[in-house]
């Protein structure tokens, strides 16, 4: 897993990327609220929202294949619930409503996340007076996510090089051991980070 798998497109340059993170977050929330609150009778509003999103997507220069790919990846959950709701009276309408609303909301989120570097979102959260401990945890988590994912990948590669049985029980045991080792290493790294933070005068 390459280390930019989470943050691939957030460093492009486009009018959308340059917009302030707080504004984008607010608009995304407003769009989600609108998608949910608009009654199905006013379907033209939903179409309008969809058109706006398409415009934003085009302006952002994020490749459409990426957006569509993510949509397909994350859509099944909503589709599953839509399927369940078909068993209701008026089920078909409900199902369609669910699919339309959730697709629009999902597209909004995909555009938000691919045009806003996480560090900016953190700054917005701090400005919104989100408690410092939570923001610090988020910042550290984001910083070390890639380190841990790389470490986990290396450990898995090493394990695969020495695994010949292919039995599921072995796979579970070795994955769990890997996870356990990863945590132990992480906690030891946390101690070193604490030392580094203190070394630079952390208050």
């Amino acid at each position: 897993m390459r280390h930019d798998f989470l943050d691939k497109w957030s460093r492009l340059d486009s009018p959308i990327h340059r917009a302030p993170a707080g504004l984008k977050l607010g608009l995304a929330l407003a769009t989600a609220v609108a998608c949910v609150a608009v009654p199905l009778a006013h379907w033209w509003a939903l179409v309008a929202i969809g058109a706006c999103l398409a415009l934003v997507a085009a302006a952002s220069r994020v490749p459409p294949s990426f957006v569509l790919g993510r949509l397909l990846l994350l859509e099944p959950l909503a589709a599953g619930v839509a399927l369940l709701s078909v068993f209701q009276p008026d089920g078909a309408r409900v199902a369609v409503a669910i699919v339309v609303r959730s697709t629009l909301c999902l597209a909004t989120m995909i555009l938000l996340t691919s045009t806003t570097p996480f560090a900016e979102l953190l700054r917005t959260l701090r400005a919104l007076r989100v408690p410092a401990l939570l923001v610090t945890v988020l910042a550290l988590m984001y910083r070390y996510l890639f380190v841990l994912v790389d470490e986990a990948e290396r450990m898995q590669r090493a394990r695969r090089s020495r695994s010949f049985s292919g039995r599921r029980a072995h796979a579970w045991a070795s994955l769990a051991t890997l996870a356990g080792q990863l945590f132990v290493r992480s906690s030891e790294r946390a101690e070193r980070i604490y030392a580094a933070m203190c070394a630079r005068g952390w208050r």
């Binding site: 943050d7 609150a37 989120m109 132990v184 946390a190």
Partner: protein, 320 residues
Amino acid sequence: MHVPDGLLDLKTASTTAALSVSALAVALRRLRLGLPRRRVPLMGLAAAFLFTAQMLNFPVAGGTSGHLLGAVLAVVLLGPSAAMVVMTAVLLVQCLLFADGGLLALGANVFNMAVVGVLGGSAVYRAVCRVLPGRRGLLAAAAFASWCSTLLASIGCAAELAWSGVVPWGLVFPAMTTIHMLIALGEAAITTLVIVAILRVRPDLVEPTGTSPDARALRLVAAFGLAATIGLLLFALPFASSWPDGLERVGQVLGFGPAAGGRPLPAPMAEYRLPGLGSATAATSAAGFVGTLVAFALACALAAALAPRASAGAPPDRRA
């Protein structure tokens, strides 16, 4: 189990968001007062660890694989308040970085997994640890508590979907709980195996729970009694007939009208009759109760099988 946007209506989203924010505020306050500063980097790393661990594929059958949720793992390693904050961080990053789980639904997702999953799992963990002693007790407690926490999160999700009028309670509750009773077994197994792996190398990293080992047989009976109680709470209580009505009454008190979209709320206790089994809800209740006891028995068996492996050697030399 991340709920995407577009499913929950505004009243559900805002209520769960309000509940989550309050619970988190309490947890953060407790941590601000009681957490030593040296644990802060550990929380950040633990959040990164949980995210990474959630990506591991535990092969099940065919192409499917199980994944860790980690609420009880976090409790066992960090304690309930820190676990709540860490799980919230994971959900926030998944939403804001990966678009996994909606923005509006964030309150609901945090409520299900970081609040209910953590607090419920923590309560079960502590209760079982108090009854079953030693290493074996800890492992059985962790296994059963993770099973319960996954189930609780799924029940929360079902309640939110029903309250939003998306699916009737009488359908979504049986569907969610039957599926998650099985999924939760995976969670229990993975959580316990990971704890065993950690205990082998660094037993000091697991929060200690002390009970003196005595009167074994009686303790096991008490433990099963505890499991039975939990089973009743999980599966009988939701069907005390006032539950869905209660939700609707709360909605009316709070000033929320019918669900957005102009659809009338479906009848709260929509009874679906399955041939030969009577009402689906009653069948689920019974199955759930039995399932809880079975899960507990499996947790104990797993603990008994793994306990000898979990003994640590001499503590390793630690270089700064």
